[in-house]
């Protein structure tokens, strides 16, 4: 269905194509720029991928085509997306990318969803020389591979956890309890958190890990409640983010600061939890109030997909496409030149300036966001804040 929609959009755009100053419009003879990717449409990764990532790819291709095409070094060419369902299987995902790069020989690729999937596809992009700007991969382990074609546009764990540490230190938090999911994501975040809290003089009085898919964490939360920490941090994935929130509320565990991770930025978190989440903090980057560009992005996404983007990695996915688009305008589709342009340039995006050093986006700071009313407000760092922080957290509603 998506492909049909895309074709319809392409057709509509062709009709309306008009020449922009200095750019040759796309003509029927020009082959489209073929951009391939594999992403989860079914299976356990699909919820994250379909909230955060693929909607952006589709919207971007439509917008580019509606504007006459992708500016390839001054010449406009249509974009054709070749999107495959990886069924949330690493093996299927890797095979799909191998096919896209080796036999379909697409012009460019877009990244899959999630830290693990990006990690798995990294050797391939280096082998075939395809630059990839990942919006949903965090972990020093990935950057440590020093893959010249891999760019991480999302904030790395140390940045995010440091921001949280600074925020809590500024509010005189002395003790914290932490739980984390037993996955690469949780382990990296937990290590970064421990390091940061140690530096900031925040004592971690309880630390527990749990497996993905857990259905009950109440015994753990009860234990933590008995120890009465100032702050509680759950380095969690979406199902458990919902679970710890609901169960902390259930047992009236209400520390001064309550932080949960992936999923807090999802609009469905607000819809599922209702007004209960007032004052809950989590991983975020921006919201519609951050800038006019952010507002325009949220509006366009909501109009196109009938749902809001999340307030963390969605905008990074969009920014990654903007970076690629700006680099292509400058150097065209030669992938080596494109890689160099991405590595060496500075780009204006929806998340602000983006600049890479050794594959890491060093222009976007770590951010702490907090639910206040219907909005996930940015509360740290001060120069990005969209609202003052609510501290201590009010009692659960």
């Amino acid at each position: 269905m998506r492909r049909t929609l895309l074709k319809a959009a392409v057709a509509a755009a062709l009709g309306a194509a008009s020449a922009l100053a200095g750019v040759t419009p796309a003509s029927a003879q020009d082959a489209p720029v073929r951009i391939g990717y594999a992403i989860a449409r079914t299976g356990p990764w699909a919820a994250g991928a379909q909230i955060t990532q693929e909607p952006n790819y589709i919207m971007w291709a439509e917008q580019v085509n509606a504007a006459g095409g992708l500016n390839v070094k001054g010449k406009k060419r249509k974009v054709e997306l070749i999107g495959l369902d990886d069924r949330s299987e690493a093996e299927t995902m890797v095979r799909s990318y191998e096919k896209l790069m080796a036999s379909d020989k697409v012009d460019l690729i877009l990244p899959p969803w999630g830290t693990g999937a990006n990690f798995a596809v990294m050797p391939l992009i280096q082998k075939y020389g395809y630059p990839m700007i990942a919006p949903t991969a965090t972990g020093r382990k990935l950057l440590g591979m020093k893959n010249p074609y891999f760019f991480a546009i999302l904030q790395q764990p140390d940045l995010m956890m440091d921001a949280l540490g600074e925020f809590l230190k500024a509010r005189n938090i002395k003790t914290a309890a932490m739980i984390h999911v037993d996955e690469l994501f949780g382990l990296e975040q937990a290590a970064a958190l421990e390091k940061s809290f140690k530096e900031k003089g925040i004592q971690i009085i309880e630390k527990k890990s749990y497996p993905l898919g857990v259905k009950d964490l109440k015994p753990v939360l009860n234990d933590i409640k008995a120890k009465n920490p100032d702050a509680f941090v759950a380095l969690s994935y979406p199902p458990d983010t919902f679970l710890v929130t609901a169960q902390a509320r259930e047992i009236a565990f209400n520390p001064k600061a309550f932080y949960a991770s992936v999923g807090t930025a999802f609009p469905v978190y607000r819809d599922k939890m209702g007004p209960a989440i007032e004052g809950v903090m989590g991983l975020g980057t921006l919201n519609p109030k951050s800038s006019p560009a952010a507002k325009a992005y949220f509006d366009a996404h909501t109009a196109r997909h009938k749902k809001e983007p999340d307030r963390w990695a969605s905008a990074h996915a969009w920014a990654a496409l903007q970076v690629m688009q700006q680099a292509i305008a400058k150097v065209g589709l030669d992938r080596k030149a494109l890689r160099d342009a991405i590595a060496g340039g500075e780009f204006d995006t929806v998340i602000g300036k983006v600049r890479f050093r050794n594959g890491e986006n060093i222009a976007t700071p770590g951010v702490v966001s907090q639910w206040q009313g219907k909005e996930f407000e940015v509360v740290w760092p001060p120069d990005r804040a969209t609202a003052p922080a609510l501290h201590p957290k009010p009692a659960w509603k």
């Binding site: 909230i51 949330s88 527990k208 749990y210 857990v214 015994p219 259930e250 469905v268």
Partner: protein, 289 residues
């Protein structure tokens, strides 16, 4: 003391949720040996129906439970007619019913799950209902989990009573032991067989409706629940209503105490250790006769 009671109660309530998940499959596999591996998918359908009714039409999810049960019961009759009737008629033994229905169940699983992906997309969905805590003594429990627990106990007891003390229950058990013999003594197996299958699906749907109040939902949510259900009914003894409840509660308790004394990360290890221990001691499950 209060702390231990609360820990136990929390384990029992989670166990109640496991039992709810297993009820429907216990009818289908436990009593009829139809290995409906797509059990979790119908649970997911129940969850989505309830979510739709609540978020689009503003219907109270509890009031909607009977509707879910009826819709899933009728779906069950249709599924039985299309997929399982032939299998039960042409298979020479229950072992072969098991094997063949497993394959059909796999097909159904993909069909139903992917249909849900097409209709609703992969996004997480959810709504808030009865999430407020109910205070009992010093302990606090979410209303929606208590509801699921209450339903698990009530439905298990009802099933136990029906199977043990009513003519209908006797007929169902007779049909299980010897379909031909049951027919000879005048039991309408052509009606009873699909009806029991449909009741299993109805229970799966109601379980899904109850879970949608507690957890968020996705089209892929069903598979792990099928695994949970299989463990619970095997633990309790196939076809035993009391066993299903006991199996669920036991798993919940083991997890709660295990989590307190060790780490939640050892949850799977502990659950499977108990599972293996029970099967070593009583290979046919806790309540098998």
């Amino acid at each position: 003391m209060g702390f231990w009671l609360e820990l136990a109660a929390s384990g029992l309530i989670t166990g109640g949720i496991y039992a709810v998940v297993a009820l429907g499959l216990n009818l289908q596999y436990g009593l009829m040996r139809i290995m409906n591996i797509s059990h979790g998918e119908f649970l997911m359908l129940g969850a989505y129906l309830t979510w739709l009714a609540h978020t689009v039409f503003g219907i109270n999810p509890v009031a909607f439970l009977p509707v879910v049960a009826i819709v899933l019961f009728l779906t069950g009759l249709a599924v039985y007619r299309l997929c399982f009737r032939r299998i039960t008629r042409t298979s020479p033994s229950v072992e072969i019913i098991e094997a063949r229905s497993l394959l059909v169940g796999f097909g159904l699983m993909y069909l139903v799950q992917n249909a849900a992906y097409l209709i609703w997309g992969a996004d997480l969905r959810g709504y808030s209902f009865l999430a407020d805590a109910v205070v009992i003594g010093d302990a606090r429990f979410a209303g929606n989990s208590l509801l699921a627990f209450g339903f698990a106990v009530a439905a298990s007891l009802a099933m136990l009573a029906v199977l043990r003390w009513t003519m209908l229950g006797k007929a169902i058990r007779a049909m299980m032991q010897s379909p031909a013999g049951a027919q000879l003594v005048g039991i309408d197996t052509a009606f009873l067989h699909p009806a029991v299958f449909g009741a299993g699906l109805a229970l799966a749907g109601v379980a899904g409706a109850l879970l949608s109040m507690v957890y968020e939902i996705t089209p892929g949510m069903g598979e792990p629940y099928t695994v949970t259900a299989l463990i619970v009914i095997t633990l309790g003894g196939l076809g035993s209503a009391a066993g299903c409840l006991a199996g669920g509660l036991l798993l919940g308790l083991v997890e709660a105490f295990g989590m307190h004394f060790t780490s939640p990360s050892l949850k799977m290890l502990l659950s499977y250790a108990v599972f293996i221990a029970v099967l070593l001691a009583r290979p046919k499950g806790l309540f098998a006769r």
